[in-house]
């Protein structure tokens, strides 16, 4: 595997041959449903060597399948949509449901076409983009209502019945994946003008289908078999093997602290990223994106240690107090003994008709 800024020396023929060979050799060309359903973390592999963007289709097969599966997911939108106060942001995609060239609340996957130059040879790479299902996703961990959660199988899923549409998940996502539809969701029943603004939507890795033992719709529909799903370890090993074999590049293993989506590409990702203009609904692909919550880890660890610090300090303080009390008691006893001795001396002195000096 090469570093992301090194150009691969790979002809188109070698490129395709290597990909096909890798696919056949891996035994993972069509992972069984059992693998997808299996216990433990799942991950997906997206092989950009194989994705051709479905040139003969108006909408790429994966995108079309995703749209079909999620067509009725969003309930009817309130009409009129409440205008939030004081910042009057309303995001309504209900009249633009057909959009498929960017992420929207009605479109969780799109295919970016990257026209790059590899050693003077123009090359086109198609990049399916959707939620990366990060290993430690800030979008889920700091959702104030736990509406977004990373499940045990690795899927990061937004519960649309709990989401208030505040878009915090979008703000903390390095790729700003979740998209908001205003006018739907629980916020309509609370304080729609002052709290919440809809529901956030994104790819949920077809969580329900996985539960029924099926593959995600996009993977099942891909005619090129460019996408795979399986146990995370196996997918990562396969992605690394393919990247090495094609003298190519890997994206998603380390980005944002690790994700459950591994892109394999014969073209460096910084070149691909250069063709992506980051904008609403269109994430970029900057290599080496750092996990944004990493900057909070140190203090979080200190928080977990705080109870022990409090308990030890409290016990030490109380023991010190007990020790001091005991010492004072002994001191008082000695004082009293001295007084007693003094009094005894006075008595004796009186008896003897003498006084102590």
């Amino acid at each position: 595997m090469k570093k992301s800024n090194e150009l691969p020396r790979l002809s188109r023929r070698a490129f395709l041959t290597a990909s096909a060979g890798a696919l056949a050799a891996s035994g993972l060309a069509w992972p069984s449903v059992a693998q997808a359903k299996g216990a433990g973390k799942l991950a997906t592999l997206i092989d950009l060597n194989l994705c051709d963007g479905c040139p003969n289709k108006e909408v790429p097969a994966c995108v079309a399948a995703c749209k079909t599966i999620n067509r009725d997911k969003i309930p009817p939108v309130a009409d009129p949509i409440p205008v939030p106060w004081p910042r009057k942001t309303v995001e309504d995609w209900s009249r633009k449901r057909e959009v498929f060239d960017r992420l929207t609340p009605y479109n969780y996957l799109y295919v970016h076409q990257a026209d790059v130059d590899v050693d003077g040879v123009p090359k086109t790479v198609f990049v399916p983009r959707r939620c990366m299902h990060c290993d430690n996703p800030a979008c889920a961990t700091i959702c104030p209502f736990a509406a977004n959660h990373k499940h045990e199988n690795g899927a990061v899923v937004i519960d649309q019945d709990l989401c208030f549409g505040g878009a915090k998940c979008k703000a903390v996502c390095p790729w700003e994946i979740p998209q908001r539809q205003s006018g739907v969701g629980i916020y309509l029943h609370v304080l729609p003008d002052y709290m919440g603004n809809g529901v956030m939507y994104k790819c949920d890795l077809c969580y329900d289908r996985l539960g029924r033992g099926k593959e995600p719709g996009c993977i099942e529909a891909c005619p090129q078999k460019a996408m795979l799903i399986g146990p995370r370890n196996e997918m990562l090993a396969e992605a690394e093997r393919r990247a090495q074999q094609m003298n190519g590049f890997l994206y998603g293993r380390d980005e944002n602290g690790g994700t459950s989506t591994f892109y394999v590409s014969p073209v460096p990702f910084d070149r691909i990223n250069a063709t992506m203009k980051k904008g609403p609904g269109r994430p970029d692909m900057k290599p080496g994106v750092e996990r944004r919550m990493a900057g909070t880890d140190s203090l979080a660890k200190a928080v977990l240690a705080a109870p022990a610090v409090g308990i030890v300090a409290g016990a030490a303080g109380a023991l010190q107090w007990l020790s001091d009390r005991k010492a004072r008691g002994e001191k008082d006893e000695k004082k009293d003994e001295k007084k007693d001795e003094k009094k005894d001396g006075k008595k004796d002195g009186k008896k003897d008709g003498k006084k102590d000096v």
Binding site: I142, V172, T296, L299
Partner: protein
């Protein structure tokens, strides 16, 4: 505890330095937690709070999370310190007593001119009830907050049921904590309670105030001093107290720390006594006492 009467200065030492430090650590870190916790909601930008000078960070979730964590360290450590320290010492002054609920209602009525308030121990009955309520809320916030922190660091895929419980316990705890915080501030602003503000700021209150409003407490402090005297006398039972002993006992009445004497202590008070056990002069309602403004 360090409760003691300093007659020449007309004051009673009500809180030790340790207690003041505990209180203010919890109070100030709690305030920081309320503010930074609110900024964990997507409100900094929506309500233009981030455009207020000095509050640009209100819309940066990572900064407000770090502020929240930093305040949590102090809050959690102080709360656990308080529990262990006073637990091991056997301090029970803030534990509710039988009849506190009914007495609290009487006291609250008296604040509005209905009836007269009964004589108090060191703490008012509603203070003891509020303490338990606040302790419950704080425990709820700490436990749920620790689960959330652990999840953020090590287990983002923690059981969804656990995450939901922790999150909503934290959110409900937050609302209760804010209400309790406001009620606490409101209570100290009530005219009859204002002299106690000095107590939590400096550690002592005026003796004349305490004698009229907290006679049971003063009795406890003085009772503890008398115990000293009695113990001293018991050590030399055959002899009448000489002039020197009387002098020592008189000093003890004025400035003997309760902690050295009382077996059953409050958080800052001596052995609690039932109202009937105190002298008849202090069982009278003290509503006639001219309260300080």
């Amino acid at each position: 505890m360090s409760d003691r009467i300093v007659r020449e200065q007309n004051r009673v030492i009500r809180h030790s330095v340790v207690e003041l430090a505990e209180h203010w650590t919890v109070a100030l870190s709690g305030l920081a937690l309320i503010v930074s916790g609110m900024f964990q909601l997507p409100m900094g930008s929506r309500y233009y709070i981030n455009s207020i000078p000095g509050l640009a960070w209100s819309a940066d979730y990572m900064v407000s999370l770090n502020v929240h964590y930093a305040a949590s360290i102090l809050f959690v450590a102080a709360a656990l310190f308080h529990t262990v320290y006073h637990g091991l010492r056997g301090d029970r002054g803030l534990m509710p007593r039988k009849g506190d609920l009914l007495t609290s209602i009487e006291v609250i009525k008296s604040f509005f001119g209905e009836g007269k308030e009964p004589p108090f121990h060191k703490y008012l009955p509603e203070q003891r009830l509020a303490y338990v309520g606040m302790a419950f809320i704080i425990a709820m916030l700490i436990v749920s907050g620790l689960v959330k922190t652990y999840k953020n660091l090590y287990a983002p895929d923690l059981s969804y049921a656990v995450v939901l419980w922790a999150t909503w316990a934290h959110n409900i705890g937050f609302v209760l904590f804010v209400l309790a915080f406001v009620a606490h501030i409101g209570a100290i602003l009530l005219k009859p309670n204002r002299p106690m503000l000095r107590g939590i700021l400096t550690g002592s209150v005026r003796l004349d105030y305490a004698e009229h409003r907290h006679p049971l407490w003063i009795e406890e402090v003085e009772g503890a001093s008398r115990e000293v005297k009695a113990e001293s006398a018991a050590m030399t039972p055959q002899e009448p107290a000489g002039p020197e002993q009387v002098l020592v006992a008189a000093d003890a009445v004025q400035e003997v720390p309760v902690e050295e004497q009382a077996g059953d202590r409050d958080i800052g008070a001596g052995a609690p006594k039932e109202p009937g056990e105190a002298g008849s002069d202090i069982t009278k309602p003290c509503g006639e006492f001219p309260r300080e403004g």
